[in-house]
Subunit: 344 residues, 2 copies
DNA sequence: ATTGATTATGTTATCGATAACATACACAGG
DNA sequence: CCTGTGTATGTTATCGATAACATAATCAAT
């Protein structure tokens, strides 16, 4: 920390008490106007910056929130952060950014560090490997405001902001069914994550509703990144060598990119041999050689909504716990088998 | 803030002094082993979390750094942040993220807020409109460790981490010259920014060295985003209607995308009528219909290097001020007129 | 037995800002 | 002239952790 001026130093310079300086700088009304001016001008000339560390210690409030995300360098999350930042900026909060790198252990240590820094609340999107639900629950029960976004854990007393994963997954699967595809595979995420469960449910229910055979063997866990998608698809193609699926619904776009790579490497073409659809509308999705049909999530709005909900919860302990679902948009491109220019 | 246990509460429960509890939890060696165990176990069962706000007040050190960037939702910056985060995580610092949204006023207010929060240092990439250099200088002289990255202000006592803008710009301009193009335009940034100045200098020097006529009228300020690039290019095409440039070097990729749009709208084709090259290697650059020849910046490394330099400066006040230039890589694609598959 | 060193613990003061209480003075109303 | 009501200011205590100093108890050495 650099050489910083304190209230007492200003007070000594002016021959008055620190309290009067404090009152003057906070523009309280029971201070003489002349004194106020002298103080303000002195504070300015001495380069005074209020010490929020001291202020926070007394007020038990830091005007700081912590954000825990599984990956920073990912278009979806950086857009969410933009949304969060817009709200925190307006409401005068600072934002601690931490990265769990999809590791639950790192997530826990970040949360502990944020607690020590006495953040007023935490926004979190769970790591792929999140498992120790009690850990979150304990902290929430202890009274630290918590809001989950995107990758949520519902039912443990914290608000959640996510998208209508279930409906969107159902719709995009039905779109594949509409193409006449009968064997449709799914690259899934971990079952203890609400988001992954909902996407899988949407997929299964769409099959059921259209009287298609649901085969457990056509579901492979890929996780959220390209490598995971690639490996899962390879496994799937090996497993179904004699009778590969006609289409694949990947739980997000990076996983879909990985799957596309595996499909091409196996000598098959997209969408003529195997159609692919994703979820999340990555920046790359519309630009790749066979543009990806996917679901666009309102990332910026997710961030804004989650941040608002958190700060409302901080400001007012009566704020109800809520599960907010934002609307997705289905983006039809060519990887599903549609001709260019088709829209839903 | 939630209900938090203090040292004194633990001390009361055990009938000992707060000081002993403090010593036990910090594993000092002059505490009885039995006491230590009792304290640690009690602290755990009471859910104690150390209060870093109080600790920081005494130690005048927060283990916190502030990051100020012009735009969060931009692949380059989110990669830089990843790099920064990797270092701060390892070194046990927390990271305050703030967004200047390319506005100098917001930048100043963020820096003030960070100072009030008593960050141990600041990492900053200047806003496009940065102007009040004295402001930075005052803070740096006051002793707050500062490291600029990417968009730097050199010569005011802070370390800088950036790329060899000058050389790379010269090389990529020479590449255009190698194609036989004689009238080459440049979309530039603000002159008070070292980065923009260096890129322009590289462009001009390349022209000079190859005895090409340097025309002031072929330089238009575009700024760093797509809209800016679009408007600048439109202006340039109007201005040179009778004799448009044969190639354009844009100071970054988004500006190049905007320029490409304007060129196509004017009915000309890329690269046959007008070649375009950019700078920064955006994720989209290799995917667009005419892949963009550009300069790849080691974003992750920039973040890592800047964060390391900052923390080294914080830890050791003798750490010298340094200007570190990382190496770029020229990525040859087709927008310059090269056939697919060519590399430098 | 007395002294000094060593170990375990307690007490007080501090970081900077401010809430809560105390004081001092001016002026109006009886 | 006295009391009450402001107004402007000062003093003290507090937030939680810990550095610096103080004390008490134990044990070895003289």
């Amino acid at each position: 920390m650099s050489s910083n001026v304190t209230l007492k130093e200003i007070a000594n310079e002016l021959g008055i008490s620190a309290m009067t300086v404090s009152r003057a700088l906070n523009d309280k009304n029971n201070v003489d106007e002349k004194t106020k001016k002298r103080v303000v001008s002195k504070a300015h000339s001495m380069g005074y910056t209020p010490n929020h560390v001291a202020k926070s210690l007394v007020s038990r409030k830091t005007f700081t929130i912590g954000v825990v995300i599984p990956e920073i360098n990912h278009a979806f999350f950086s857009e969410v952060i933009s949304g969060i930042e817009e709200v925190t900026y307006k409401r005068n909060y600072q934002l601690f950014l931490t990265n769990s790198a999809e590791k639950h252990e790192r997530e826990k240590s970040s949360i502990n560090a944020l607690q020590s820094k006495r953040v007023d609340g935490i926004l979190i999107s769970c790591a792929e490997t999140a498992s120790d639900i009690d850990f979150y629950e304990r902290i929430i029960k202890n009274g630290l405001p918590f809001v989950f976004f995107d990758r949520c854990i519902e039912g443990i007393g914290a608000s959640c902001v996510s998208v209508n994963d279930y409906e969107s997954s159902k719709i995009i699967t039905e779109h594949l069914i509409g193409h006449g595809y009968e064997s449709i595979a799914h690259l899934s995420g971990p079952d203890n994550m609400t988001l992954a469960r909902n996407r899988k449910r949407g997929y299964i229910d769409a099959l059921m509703m259209h009287d298609l055979l649901f085969q457990e063997s056509l579901i492979v866990e890929s996780g959220f990144n390209e490598t995971g998608g690639y490996n899962a698809m390879k496994k799937l193609l090996e497993r179904t060598a004699d009778n590969p699926p006609r289409a694949v619904f990947a739980l997000n776009d990076p996983a879909a990119f990985g799957a596309m790579k595996a499909i091409r490497e196996s000598g098959q073409s997209i969408p003529d041999d195997i159609a692919v659809v994703g979820f999340s509308d990555d920046v790359r999705s519309e630009l790749i050689s066979c543009p990806l049909t996917t679901v666009r999530q309102p990332a910026f709005d997710i961030g804004k909504t989650a941040a608002k909900k958190l700060i409302d919860t901080i400001d007012n302990s009566e704020e109800p716990t809520e599960t907010i679902k934002l609307k997705n948009e289905i983006i039809i491109r060519q990887s599903c088998g549609c001709a260019p220019g088709v829209s839903l």
